[in-house]
């Protein structure tokens, strides 16, 4: 994952630099906090990439690799269909809509969401 590491480390460095430059150019706390939070999130992602994915080596990164070398390799299970994503989204829709128009609808939406999330968890096992 050397490419992912490079992307997020360079983005994090950019975030830190622009936050510092912004503070010394403007002394504006609102923008500095926003840029600082953005940089923190990028540092978090870069840190994960740096430590957790240190050993990852992908066939896609080797410029001399051929598709034949991956023939028959099992990339994983890619599900073709699942009812739970639409059910979770529908539950969230009812929950949020209900917060504005009808509390009972929100309660029903919450139930739909919880049941759907449990269903998705069971399906993913």
């Amino acid at each position: 994952m050397i490419n992912g590491r490079r992307l997020f480390v360079s983005s994090a460095v950019f975030g830190i630099v622009i936050a510092v430059v912004y503070w010394f150019s403007t002394h504006n706390p609102d923008g500095t906090i926003l840029l600082g939070l953005m940089a923190t999130a990028l540092v978090f992602a870069a840190g994960f990439m740096f430590f957790a994915e240190r050993e990852a080596c992908l066939v896609g990164d080797r410029d001399d690799a051929l598709p034949a070398q991956a023939a028959g390799e099992r990339l994983g299970v890619f599900t073709v269909a699942s009812s739970w994503p639409i059910a979770i989204a529908f539950g969230a829709f009812l929950l949020l809509l209900g917060m504005v128009v009808l509390p009972a609808l929100a309660a029903f939406g919450l139930v739909v969401m919880i049941v759907s999330i449990l269903g998705l968890g069971r399906e993913s096992r």
Binding site: F14, A45, G60, A65, P67, A71, L75, F78
Partner: protein
């Protein structure tokens, strides 16, 4: 050719409408995204026609002021959040796994969820039209205190907030999926420096979404708390700050402009080389300029706030000017690609050239309004309306039509008509420029935006009438497009797998591609693997 790596199919595949409702196949989700967003384009376009009818002459009362406010709010919201961005997400959903030689997205169920939460988010925003007080009427950026409950009392504003929250969650999750898929599921030999430019632009866009969208989610949550839970975040009389709203919104809002344009830079970078019969000129420069634009766009948000008087105009003007440099590099690359190429003026290529011409005007006026003294003069005038429509209408919209004409045969296995496509292009191009070019003069004359009617001042009536006639010409172009799609879809003629002589891996798959995309892949030794496989002698020559 070699066999591709295999994905294990899930036995629970379904057919018919249930298949579309439950599908986690990236191609189905991409098509759903694109069709839904085009539907919202039609809705937002109809709203635009009402706006232009109302403004065609001074003093008209086709709609009242409150209805007008709702119409332009829904028009802007739909075009930005429900059309331009989701179309890019849909196109990326369809194309990224195909372009990198992967069987699907990294997280198929999450991918389905991102579409459906976007779909319900759009419904939520428009459902505001049916509650007491009508839909949101505070503009697409809903400045506080205009969007606070003491002014926007109806439920429409709440539904707008909730709908936007849902679409922002959708965007964030889609970005995670795009980045993970691109880094983890590239086919053997598809190194990062061999990725098609569209995929690169989507990585930059995804990074921007991850940096900018949380700020939108935060500001919407704070606004909702202000409206319903006694928060005073944006209430100046209780110690809050409306300027804070602007900071939080534009910290998202300006990168959003690039989220809406970077994917379409990618589209143009795919179309131009194919119809110039040349490799893209300056591949590395194009990639690096995408990241330069993405990075710089995070430091320009307050150029929307020059006239508040509480931001550092010098800092934001300087960074805004700087963005013109990487954007200019892209133009240089596109012109360099066309230079001495064997240009084929097909419909996608015409839309690509139209994009460049329109976006150039939008870019130049963008540099103008990045200058605080000019911005103070034209702030909230029709000059700004012209500027951002040249960027997003003349830019993104033309690239979207180019993308549809270019990839329609791959997506549906049918070729759109070249004759009708050219009619569509010229009607849109002439109509667009008739509508928006004159708005620059209206803005310079001082006509403010977001007014439902205006006085009969010298020149205003005639220029507005010209703009409205241009809108009608554009509508005719859209009708030709609809006719073309219907006629081509019912035609029995099938497109070949690679009707244009394309370069990237999607043209290796059948049209439309099967489940899991590929049964075999060519060797990948450049950013044009399909061209290399079909012209091995030329490929060997260029690799030397």
């Amino acid at each position: 050719m070699s066999t591709a790596a295999t994905a294990v199919p899930n036995p629970a595949s379904r057919r018919g409408i249930i298949e579309w409702l439950t599908s986690t196949d990236h191609k189905h989700i991409g098509i759903l995204y694109m069709c839904t967003s085009v539907f919202y384009f039609f809705v937002a376009g109809l709203l635009a026609m009402v706006i232009r009818a109302q403004l065609a002459q001074p003093g008209l009362t086709l709609v009242g002021p409150h209805a007008y406010n709702q119409i332009f709010t829904l028009h802007g919201t739909a075009m930005i959040f429900l059309f331009v961005v989701p179309f890019a997400l849909g196109l990326a959903n369809f194309l990224i796994p195909l372009q990198i030689g992967a069987p699907d997205m990294a997280f198929p169920r999450l991918n389905a969820f991102t579409y459906w939460i976007f779909f319900f988010g759009g419904l939520t925003i428009f459902s505001g039209a049916f509650v007491n007080g009508g839909a949101a009427a505070s503009g697409w950026f809903a400045y506080a205190p205009l969007s606070e409950i003491r002014i926007s009392t109806g439920g429409g504003q709440d539904l707008w907030i909730i709908g936007l929250l849902m679409t922002s969650v959708s965007g964030i999750l889609a970005a995670v999926n795009f980045i993970t898929t691109t880094f983890l599921y590239r086919a053997p030999g598809m190194t990062m420096w061999r990725l098609p430019i569209f995929t690169w632009e989507m990585i930059a866009t995804s990074l921007l979404i991850l940096m900018a969208f949380p700020s939108l989610a935060a500001v919407l949550a704070l606004l909702f708390i202000d409206r319903h839970f006694g928060g005073q975040f944006f209430n100046a009389s209780a110690g809050g700050s409306p300027v804070l709203y602007q900071h939080l919104f534009w910290f998202f809002g300006h990168p959003e402009v690039y989220i809406m344009i970077l994917p379409y830079f990618g589209v143009i970078s795919e179309i131009i080389p194919v119809f110039s019969r040349k490799p893209i000129f300056g591949y590395t420069g194009l990639v690096l300029s995408a990241f330069a634009i993405a990075g710089l766009s995070m430091g320009v948000w307050a150029h929307h706030m020059f006239t508040t008087g509480v931001v550092s105009n010098g800092f934001f003007a300087a960074v805004s000017f700087l963005i013109a440099v990487p954007t200019g590099i892209k133009f240089f690359n596109w012109v360099g690609t066309m230079w001495r190429g064997s240009l084929l003026l097909t419909t996608p290529m015409l839309f690509a050239i139209g994009f460049m011409l329109n976006f150039l005007i939008g870019g130049i006026t963008g540099v103008m309004v990045a200058s605080p003294p000019i911005d103070y003069q034209v702030e909230d005038s029709y000059f700004l309306v012209a500027h951002f429509h040249y960027v997003l209408g003349g830019g993104s919209l033309f690239a979207i039509f180019g993308a549809i004409y270019f990839w329609f045969p791959k997506v549906f296995g049918k070729l759109l008509s070249e004759r009708r496509g050219k009619w569509c292009f010229w009607l849109l191009f002439v109509g667009f420029n008739t509508t928006f070019f004159v708005m620059q003069f209206l803005g310079a004359m001082g006509m403010p935006r977001r007014v439902y009617t205006y006085q009969n001042l010298p020149g205003w009536g005639n220029l507005n009438l010209i703009a409205s006639i241009g809108a009608l010409i554009m509508a005719a172009g859209v009708l030709v497009f609809v006719w073309d799609v219907i006629a081509s879809s019912i035609s029995r003629t099938r497109a070949s797998d690679d009707p244009w002589g394309g370069y990237s891996l999607e043209w290796w798959a059948t049209s439309p591609p099967p489940e899991y995309n590929f049964t075999s892949l060519p060797p990948i030794r450049s950013e044009r693997p399909v061209f290399d496989a079909k012209h091995p002698d030329l490929a060997r020559l260029s690799q030397k």
